[in-house]
């Protein structure tokens, strides 16, 4: 398709779309800085007090901390489990890959609510009664980020031609574990970092599983926000907008990293 200068109609439609998409964001942002906003198009006076309130709110800080450490632990666990497994499957058992694809696509096709039902049934009684604990949540998070981790690690392995690298290392006398740690890992690290960060941002925004599995016991930032929606609108919008900016920064880092990797590949 040719890409000459866009005509009048496309410009208008895109403008309308952008207004529609950005309006809720903008309103939340304004609301977070507004002292008094009623009956006028724009707030009458501005303040930063909602943000300072936010950082003085113990429950918010606790929820933030809970979110951070749960997400980090889940991502680290996933790295520890997935790196060797995906490596072994991609390099030694490529025939299992179609089977892996089936396992990995499942968390996409099955909504979070459904996954929560199975998890609650399995772990609320019997020998493994871990309902409402962080263990259950970390396990659930592991499955949530499974697709991102698998794809990310597998693509990195393929793009650095792991099989050839490994053969070369073994030819030079390295043992397999040494080869994996000293040759393969440093090469795939940037790609793995991207999928780890992506997984982190997915988990940071996770609400369904968190609320259904541990909602009453553990408060993550999303659960906290949900509880705050009914109370002070200004404070909640300050939290919502901070959350959004944080995710935005994270995705900017992701994009930069992704571009860097692509640049190296060329």
């Amino acid at each position: 398709m040719n890409t000459r200068k866009a005509g009048f109609a496309p410009r208008t439609f895109m403008l309308l779309l952008m207004v529609y998409l950005l309006l809720p964001l903008l309103a939340t942002g304004l609301y977070a800085f507004a002292q008094d906003w009623q009956n006028t198009l724009l707030p009458r006076s501005w303040t930063l007090s909602w943000f300072s309130d936010m950082f003085r709110d113990i429950r918010f800080l606790e929820a933030l901390w809970t979110s951070l450490y749960l997400c980090i632990i889940s991502v680290l666990l996933s790295l520890a489990v997935m790196l060797p497994a995906v490596f072994v499957i991609t390099v030694y058992f490529p025939r299992w890959e179609s089977f892996m694809k089936g396992i990995v696509v499942l968390p996409y096709a099955v909504p979070g609510v459904v996954a929560a039902v199975g998890l609650i049934r399995t772990y609320s009684s019997g020998p493994f009664d871990i309902s409402g604990t962080a263990y259950l949540l970390v396990g659930a998070y592991f499955v949530v980020i499974l697709p991102y981790m698998y794809q990310g690690i597998r693509n990195s392995l393929l793009s650095v031609s792991a099989v050839e690298l490994l053969n070369a290392a073994e030819l030079l006398g390295a043992r397999r574990r040494t080869a994996f740690v000293n040759v393969i890992l440093p090469n795939i690290w940037p790609g793995v970092m991207v999928s780890a960060l992506l997984s982190f941002s997915v988990l940071f925004g996770e609400f369904v599983l968190t609320n259904m599995l541990v909602g009453g016991h553990i408060q993550t930032i999303q659960v906290y926000l949900y509880q705050r929606v009914g109370e002070s609108g200004h404070l909640a919008s300050a939290i919502a907008i901070s959350y959004f900016v944080f995710i935005l920064l994270l995705s900017a880092v992701l994009m930069k990293l992704g571009m860097k990797i692509k640049g190296q590949a060329k």
Partner: protein, 307 residues
Amino acid sequence: MKQRQRGLMLALAPFVLMVLAFQVVPVFSMLSGSFRSSDEAGFTLANYRHALSSAYYMQAIKNSLLISVLSSLIGVGVGLLCAYCITRFAPAVRDRLLMLSNMTSNFAGVPLAFAYIILLGNNGVFTLLFKQWGWSVFGGFNLYSWSGLILVYVYFQIPLALLLLYPAFYGIREQWREAASLLGAGRWQFWKTVGLPVLSPAIFGTLGILFANAMGAYATAYALVGGNYNLLAVRIGSLVAGDVVTQPEMGSTLAVLLALSTLLAVFLNQRMVRRMEGFGGRIPARQERSSGRSNRRWPAVREEAGP
């Protein structure tokens, strides 16, 4: 050789264990739960019979289907129009527009519901403004109802539709258009006889993804209407982890039904993608990375759109 094998198995063991414990076993537990009744042992179809005959559950299913179909259709309609528009821009502008649209897809779930409450809720900024200006057109609008839900669902469907559809437009070659116009076809005729048929696998595939996305959406609806509006996902949530009485068997049954519908939609999408490959057109963002689940999945899609 033997030891070599053992080392490999050792590397796989934790992975197999985690997948079994948190994915396979729960799925089977849910399936078996759906065929079991709370007061008698053994296999039974009573739950399904009950779910499909109870007016209450049927209403939840119907509401969910309706809102998913409607919001997907609107999403694909708007997405098609905007995807076409976006191909008319220079690549630099196009990428920036796509980036903005993807950025908003991070704004989903609870924060999104919250933003709409600020804008259009009972004491929302626009609600009060409209009241003051005397615009009664919006007087009948209620965010916490059917129309409000549609509005919010459409909001998170459009960026996804746009992202999945716009690459398909690059499958339509400029030469085809020239050829069609040489043969005397007008613009409208070209789109009717060449453009839309070529796009149709992408359109149906995207519909599948959006449908699954809306069926599974829980956070937005839950934060916006809570238990006040009868939707399948919210109903399942309250049956299994509700504050009142939980009915895990019934919850499992409804969850199986919900999963069947989304699996079917994703399956449709995969079929369509295979068809697209036959056309030689570019595939709308690699599907296995972006098949819809809940709106929180979208960062995966965002990565696809990177230059």
